[in-house]
């Protein structure tokens, strides 16, 4: 079951002489339980890919499908609701809201989605336990280490029944051991059924994935292939 599908996705910026094809004809699926890493030089379209996959930007052509819903068929509020319910984001930094405790940060997306406070708190506590930082529930971000903050951010990305994590250089600001802990955690969450699409320039971190896809000049140029699934998971539409 694919959690995320990109079908012949292209994204242009500018027009006329300034037209740039940021992404061209990308076909990519991420199944439940699968961890996919995206690598490529700067300007290759990695971040654009992640932005489109999360519905934060719309493709010029092609379709983005999350949990079976084509994002192109949704209005603005429908898109926001789908993002809140199904997609979690983990960035390099600025992940947590400083004025909220760990558990309040994790509760936030559930409360925004209309879950009652009690239920949101229960789910948030569970999510914090799953990433091994339940003892930090009442601490504020500036009372935690970078690695602990990133764990809380991953808990927030996966709280409730969301299972698509989009991660942009999630280990960027961390030392190498802490970065590895974050990779272990993402790996474990994928093994437990989540789907993760991660952009990174570190091959050491990309190696925790099931599959690495390589972008250059907005095109998918190669892939390591999948660990378990057949190569048909990747359709390079060119």
């Amino acid at each position: 079951m694919n959690v995320l599908e990109l079908h012949a996705v292209s994204r242009d910026h500018g027009a006329g002489a300034g037209l740039v094809h940021a992404l061209a004809g990308i076909g990519l699926s991420v199944a439940a339980g699968e961890f996919v890493a995206v690598m490529g030089p700067s300007g290759s379209g990695k971040s654009t890919l992640l932005t489109l996959a999360g519905g934060l930007d719309a493709p010029t052509s092609g379709r983005v499908v999350i949990e079976g819903t084509d994002l192109g068929t949704l209005g603005r509020s429908g898109l926001s609701a789908l993002r809140r319910r199904h997609v979690g984001y983990v960035f390099q930094d600025l992940n947590l809201i400083p004025g909220l405790t760990a558990i309040e940060n994790v509760m936030l997306p559930r409360e925004l989605d209309g879950a009652g406070t009690r239920r949101a708190r229960r789910e948030a506590a569970l999510a914090l336990r799953e990433v091994g930082v339940d003892e930090l529930a009442d601490q504020f971000p500036d009372e935690m280490s970078g690695g602990q903050q990133q764990r809380v951010a991953i808990a927030r990305a996966l709280v409730g029944d969301r299972r698509l994590v989009l991660a942009d250089e999630p280990t960027g600001a961390l030392d190498s051991n802490t970065g590895e802990d974050v990779m272990r955690l993402l790996r474990a969450r994928c093994d437990a059924g989540a789907a993760c699409l991660m952009v990174t320039h570190e091959s050491r971190h990309a190696a925790w994935s099931d599959r690495v896809v390589f972008l250059r000049d907005g095109r998918m140029v190669d892939t390591t292939g999948s660990r378990s699934g057949p190569e048909t998971l990747l359709q390079d539409v060119r």
């Binding site: 910026h13 740039v20 940021a22 690598m39 030089p41 700067s42 300007g43 290759s44 272990r184 790996r187 320039h201 570190e202 091959s203 050491r204 990309a206 190696a207 925790w208 994935s209 099931d210 690495v212 390589f214 250059r216 000049d217 140029v221 190669d222 892939t223 390591t224 292939g225 660990r227």
Partner: protein
Amino acid sequence: MSIRHGLLALLSQGPRYGYQLRTEFESSTGATWPLNIGQVYSTLARLERDERVTRVGADDEGRFVYRITPDGEEEVRRWFATPIARTDRPRDELSIKLAMAVTTPGVDVVGVVQTQRTATLRSLQELTRLKADAPAVPAGQADRAWRLVLESMIFQAEAEARWLDHCEAYVVRADDAAPAERTDAAGGTGGTGGAAERPGSGVRARPDGAERARR
């Protein structure tokens, strides 16, 4: 040389049988470099000839116990104290291949780099799976040693991937610089396919790129 010194280092901990040396060598290196028993005995024979080990006694099946000599202990001490010279290592086939790819007309260097990068990432994934599957706490000394060997291989694969990134950026930059010089001379403004990059991308023509590419 590494087998010779590896065996001597094991013998510096006490006398051992040949098959025992093989088992201990392999468990320390996580069977990364499997030894056949013939290699062990031929190495022991050379060590005996060089008076680094002596044979003492034999068990019921006629298997000898080997003991390190003072000269052998001195060699182990020197081995640990001396850094491995980079020039002592075998020539790196990948560097040679890339050097040839750059200078041979008609070779798609970026393609060569990408093919290697995918293969390197695949082996890095396999090594990382070994690491991920290992229990959090090492089971003993040999397990700890094996993890260091594993990390060494991960670091080497990572370094290779970074070097490949560098090669690609270098080649793309040199390729972009070459036509740019020509269009400047002709007063033209047309871009090439390779130069049609997003603003702010890391791939940019540099005036010295063409110079270096010719060398």
